[in-house]
């Protein structure tokens, strides 16, 4: 079955993917004309935030309730740089990413060895610690709850002036696209297969000679560095950071966005980010009680629609768009091939 249609399969897959990407980002760019810029910027940053989480849950099988920790580390690292040292936003972002990288490398080896439930809890604990650190312990340099303001310190840069929202939007789109490409490449590589395998059957993978620990550690570092990148982007965009970013009440955010979009799917994080940000905007005007809504949404998703929006849509779209082109068995993990 595989030999015959493989190259066709790959071509179609590549077409599907690039087509989808360009369509999605094109739409996003075009929607600049109709949708408000703050909304779009938030969506793009959120989707970068979510893609790391999506990777952790969907491909490695780990839930983390502590993503705000890495988000905050990235944001604060950027903030420190811009507040105390320099003014170049690009360097600031780099510093933020580095902060995330270092953090994940430090805690990773310990966290990744843990069972999935301990892992989730330990990450949440980390988020709380980061929160306390920024709020109280390091109040000298972080100014605690007042936050750090550095918008005016960011210098204009040639080509894309990140202090201007519409330029930032373009920058964010490019970054998001690059991140997406990176993850897609990762997914398609042997490493991506390893991740999936480690999620499904650890022992077997070990017997094949792969080192589960390194696979997981690498995934952990990548995912959290991506999250730190999102944090850095947030910092630049807002020109401001505060401990609230790491507060435990925000731990659900990336998980919800990921679930909403669809775990482990390609466009899940993007769809989820759009849906989530949209809901937040619309609903916070209507009902004051955001927590109630989030809570019910989470439970609802888990009980009823745990594939998420895109996760449920994708197979339907697949069949509809590609029914004519591929008569043979489909590459989609959801379908069965009759051999």
């Amino acid at each position: 079955m595989f030999a015959k249609g493989t190259s066709n399969m790959q071509a179609i897959n590549a077409l599907k993917w690039w087509g989808g990407m360009l369509l999605a980002f094109g739409l996003l760019g075009a929607s600049r004309l109709v949708l408000p810029l703050p909304f779009l910027n938030e969506v793009v940053i959120y989707s970068v935030y979510a893609i790391g989480c999506n990777f952790l849950i969907g491909r490695v099988g780990y839930i983390s309730f502590g993503q705000p920790a890495y988000l905050a580390i990235g944001a604060y690292a950027t903030a420190f740089y811009l507040f105390y040292f320099g003014t170049n936003p690009y360097v600031g972002i780099l510093v933020g990413v580095l902060g995330g990288l270092v953090m994940s490398l430090v805690v990773g080896p310990l966290f990744v060895r843990l069972r999935s439930d301990y892992f989730a809890m330990v990450n949440l604990a980390l988020a709380v610690i980061v929160f306390y650190l920024m709020q109280k312990v390091l109040v000298g340099i972080t100014q605690g709850d007042n936050g750090l303001w550095f918008l005016t310190r960011i210098s204009s840069t040639p080509v894309l002036d990140l202090t201007r929202p519409n330029h930032f939007f373009i920058f964010a789109l490019i970054v998001a696209l690059l991140v997406w490409v990176f993850y897609k490449y990762l997914d398609d590589s042997i490493y991506g297969a390893c991740c999936l395998a480690t999620k499904v059957n650890e022992n077997k993978l070990q017997f094949l000679g792969y080192n589960n620990f390194s696979i997981r550690l690498f995934a952990f570092v990548i995912a959290n560095t991506t999250t730190a990148l999102a944090g850095a982007m947030y910092a630049i965009y807002l020109g401001f950071v505060s401990p609230e970013m790491a507060s435990p009440s925000r731990s659900a955010d990336p998980v919800i966005v990921t679930l909403l979009g669809g775990v482990g799917t390609l466009f899940g994080p993007l769809v989820g980010a759009i849906a989530y940000t949209g809901m937040k905007d619309v609903l916070s005007k209507m009902i004051g009680n955001w927590e109630l809504f989030i809570g019910f949404l989470l439970v609802f998703i888990m009980l009823v629609a745990d594939k998420g929006i895109w996760g449920s849509l994708e197979p339907v779209l697949d069949k509809w768009l590609f029914r004519k082109k591929t008569a043979t068995a489909i590459n989609d993990p959801g379908t069965r091939s009759n051999d």
Binding site: I63, Y118, M121, I129, G295, V299, M302
Partner: protein
Amino acid sequence: MIRGHEAMISSQLLISGVIFGLSIGSIYFLLAIGLSLCFGLMRIISLDQLLYYSLGAYLTYTVTLMTGSMWIGVLAGMAFSGVASLAVERFIFRRIYARDPTFSMITSFGILIGGVGIIKYFWGVVPRPVEVPTLIQVGIFGTEIPVYRLIVVAIACVVYIAIWFFLHRTIVGKAIRAAIEDVEHVEGLGINVSRLFTITFVIAGALSGLAGGLHAPLIMVDPSMGLETLAFVFMVVIIGGLGSIKGTLISALVVGQVVSLGSIIYAPMAQMAPFVIMLLVLLIKPTGLYGSAVISR
């Protein structure tokens, strides 16, 4: 830092710190027991226990206002939490027992957050004070200790003994212990494990409500109390090892002391210390001090 002539005061601080730590540890213990039992038996992470904790505290507040007696309030809080957990078990958890623990984690987190919303709706965001039922102080080793704190510790001891008795001397408790080892084998004998699950879940909920009610006079009751305590309960549970009652007790005691004595020495570090301990424990034993190595199911 403690120096020179302040050394005399320091022993008083120490003693009250220890007692304080014991009472905090007692609260953590009551919460962590619920989490541990639910995990050991049903392989779920029931973060919503923190919601029953909050509900226990809020009900205590309201009922105390109505009746003037904090103890009636606590009982009301326990009862209400028990009922709430019963409802949640019936309508939500029953459907997800078969899935893996992280699934339950997300779901229970949703319940917790949603519950915070409900609390905000009924009680608003302003913190509510609950009066300590007795302001009597007792002299222990030359230090004045609030009797209330000793009562809290005493209640936790009673609960520990009661739970031990339940699990080791009653047939239902033995069935639960057996089911913690292997649910299928218990089912195969003809015992209704569904009922065992419900019983355990409600006990956990009631204990969490008790924890909330007892804690209420010691802190300000506010909607985010559940989330703030969440991380500490996590640390207690992880250090002790999910599923072990003994581990939970020891761990709660340790964390309680660390937080309390730590805050005497250097307040911000007090919050961080349990985290560091947790990391150290995990380095040596990734499943916690008394945790079991396998989650097979």
